[in-house]
């Protein structure tokens, strides 16, 4: 079976305009990312700010061009698809964003926002048909038909995110890239949205790329987890194996830093924060991206970047992984 989506040694960067004395440059942000994802599967991508996880998400939709490597949708290289066909085929791969209210046009009713993609995917639909399809999509995300006539300012954050999901669903996608979809939501609402995404995965056989900084949420939804640091994959593993025993010291540090609502555990963690900050993406270190903060770094780690080495279903980029 062909994978729903495949990234092959994908690298992405941004152009930096030149100044009076400097030439325009290319700033690499995402390096050499490879993975495949099948229908009905969820890949969780975790990392801290600036690790390139959102850039990767956008490159998977070709909202940003790849600077090297390939993205394949059901076996077909995105770069080989002409712009017109690509626009139609965007119905297959959709995205939802972190700030659900900002992602909606404040002057459009919910029904208009939700049905808007159909103007591209299925041009020529009558107004009634558009409205019916919007109501249908709202039903999928658990919003009653009366929401169709509302405006974004009348929605709570959770409801707005459901509208964003309905808009992503209306073209009948096979894959949704979720870029921090619950980070802006309250805890009680976050759980509702995660469950909704899991229900949609089951009912529609959707594949999901779930990008988040929250390791505890990623555990709830993912089949596989990829940890990114400074634009690179440092670890990739099936969910249960990953949470039972992360192999990269960075993954371990991230896990220890997530506060849990348990005073006994947390009191023991107080005073043990890992010192230092991650290096800037503008000046990446020559060796391992985590060497500067790693409690077990050797001189080799500062000099030579470890390759991502696969062992069975897991892969880790560390000279001395925890096994």
């Amino acid at each position: 079976m062909t994978a729903l989506i495949e990234a092959r040694r994908l690298s992405v960067g941004y152009p930096i305009p030149g100044g009076l004395l400097s030439r325009p440059r290319h700033l690499p942000v995402v390096h050499d990312i490879s993975f495949t994802l099948d229908a009905g599967q969820v890949l969780g991508i975790v990392g801290e700010s600036g690790c390139g996880k959102s850039t990767l998400g956008r490159a998977l939709l070709r909202l940003i061009p790849a600077s090297a490597g390939q993205v394949l949708w059901q076996g077909q290289d995105l770069a080989d698809i002409d712009a017109n066909t690509l626009r139609r085929r965007r119905a297959e791969v959709q995205i939802i964003f972190q700030d659900p209210v900002a992602a909606l046009d404040p002057r459009m009713t919910v029904a208009r926002s939700v049905s808007r993609p159909l103007a591209t995917f299925e041009p020529g639909l009558a107004r009634d048909a558009l409205h019916d399809r919007a109501v249908q999509a709202l039903g999928l995300v658990g919003l009653a038909p009366e929401f169709a006539g509302r405006y974004p300012h009348e929605l709570s954050g959770g409801q707005a995110q459901r509208v964003g999901i309905a808009r992503a669903l209306i073209g009948g996608p096979k894959l949704i890239v979720c870029d921090e979809p619950v980070s802006a939501l309250d805890v009680s609402i976050q759980a509702q949205v995660v469950n909704l995404l899991l229900d949609l995965r089951d009912r529609l056989g959707l594949g999901l790329v779930f990008i988040s900084h929250n390791l505890a949420v990623v555990r709830q939804i993912s089949d596989r987890v990829m940890v990114m640091c400074l634009g690179r994959t440092v670890e990739m593993a099936p969910r249960d194996a990953f949470y039972a025993g992360p192999q990269h010291p960075y993954s371990r540090a991230l896990m220890a830093a997530v506060p849990e609502p348990d005073p006994a555990t947390e009191r023991a963690r107080l005073g043990h924060a890992l010192p230092g900050e991650l290096p800037s993406i503008l000046t990446p270190p020559p060796g391992c991206v985590f060497a500067g903060r790693c409690p077990k770094a050797q001189s080799l780690c500062h000099q030579t970047r470890p390759d991502l080495i696969a062992t069975g279903p897991r892969a880790v980029a560390c000279h001395d992984p925890d096994r």
Binding site: E48, S49, S156, G157, G158, Q159, D186, V187, S188, I189, Q190, A191, Q192, V194, N195, L198, H213, N214, L215, A216, V217, R219, Q220, Y243, A253, L254, M255, A256, A257, V258, P259, E260, P261, D262, P263, A264, T265, E266, R267, R269, L270, G271, H272, A273, L274, P275, E277, L278, R293
Partner: protein, 324 residues
């Protein structure tokens, strides 16, 4: 309680809105002992930040506080702007969620720190600068003497928050108000900032009110917890017992909906149905009643009083009275 540093009685915050009056905080009362670290948790619209803004006299122009907030024997809500200025910056400090917008982008970090000491503590320019550099060093800003000459944009997010903490604690306040100070930070940096706040609170003896939506952060840092919903206190108690044996249906629901890495996985997350409402305080009944699975008729008509429930704990729930 005579040994309280801060004693809040029936604090309400009302906002004049085009559609009427919105009640963000509804008759909230609690005490804080010197050196105590209190966490106030709540979701958006619970009124948690408005409590701090009311104490600091920083409410938006259409907001009005009512009630009493005795701090060191003075009612903060009754002080003239000039008298409140004397308290703020001298014995009452606040740190905010976004350090970039609370630092002056045009002033060197060292000058911003030193200002408080010169204005409130009568330090000379030279002494204030030296104290500022020493404090930056204390919050582990590398090469503090040189960094004091830098501007806020030259610092990373985590460093900026450490600068804010340095600024707030430099005047040795008796009370530090912290409004979601780690929410904008990455988890590894958040852990550093929490460690730093705990160390400095112990070192300076400052009492702290830490407002957050993150139960995990409260579990790590706070002695005591207040759970706020719809502008009212739902439950209050020592962190050690409230997290293990919550009594109020809202606290129970909130804890169950918080994902944990150590807990066994279920096929779906536990949810609290419904949507939080904001500005709806002041109406009869329990604010959580519309979302509460255990609601009885009385919950919709009669606001439950906050009653003692075990050692140092209080809960506002009609059901807790019947079946503890």
């Amino acid at each position: 309680m005579t040994d309280s540093l801060l004693s809040i009685r029936d604090l309400s915050v009302r906002f004049a809105l085009p559609q009427g009056v919105g009640v963000a905080v509804d008759r909230v009362s609690f005490d804080l002992a010197p050196g105590e670290v209190l966490g106030i948790v709540g979701e958006s619209g619970s009124g948690k930040s408005q409590i701090l803004f009311a104490l600091m006299g920083l409410l938006a122009a259409n907001g009005r506080p009512a009630g009493q907030a005795l701090f060191d024997g003075q009612d903060l809500l009754a002080l003239s702007p000039r008298a409140l200025d004397q308290v703020r910056g001298a014995s009452l400090s606040m740190i905010f969620q976004d350090p970039m917008t609370s630092l002056n982008p045009y002033a060197r970090v060292g000058d911003q720190l030193a200002e408080g000491l010169r204005v409130h503590k009568g330090f000379s320019r030279r002494d204030a600068w030296d104290a500022a550099v020493a404090m930056l060093d204390r919050v582990r800003i590398p090469d503090a003497a040189a960094r004091a000459r830098h501007y806020p944009h030259q610092f990373s997010g985590g460093m900026r928050q450490r600068v804010m903490i340095a600024m707030a604690l430099l005047v040795r306040p008796k009370l530090l108000l912290a409004d979601e100070p780690t929410t904008a930070l990455d988890v590894t940096v958040q852990a550093q900032v929490i460690d730093l706040m705990a160390e400095l609170a112990a070192e300076t003896g400052a009492a702290t009110i830490f407002v957050t939506h993150d139960l995990g952060v409260v579990a790590r840092l706070c002695d005591r917890v207040i759970v706020l919903y719809g502008g009212r206190i739902m439950e209050e108690g020592p962190a050690a017992t409230l997290f293990t044996t919550p009594r109020h249906p809202y606290s129970i629901g909130l804890l169950a909906a918080t994902p944990r890495m150590a807990a066994p996985l279920a096929p779906r997350m536990t949810t609290v149905p419904g949507t939080p409402r904001s500005g709806a305080g002041g109406k009869p009944g329990c604010p959580f009643a519309p979302r509460c699975a255990r609601r009885i008729d009385r919950c919709l008509t009669e606001t439950p009083a906050l009653r003692p429930a075990g050692p140092a704990a209080r809960v506002a729930c009609h059901l807790a009275e019947v079946a503890p």
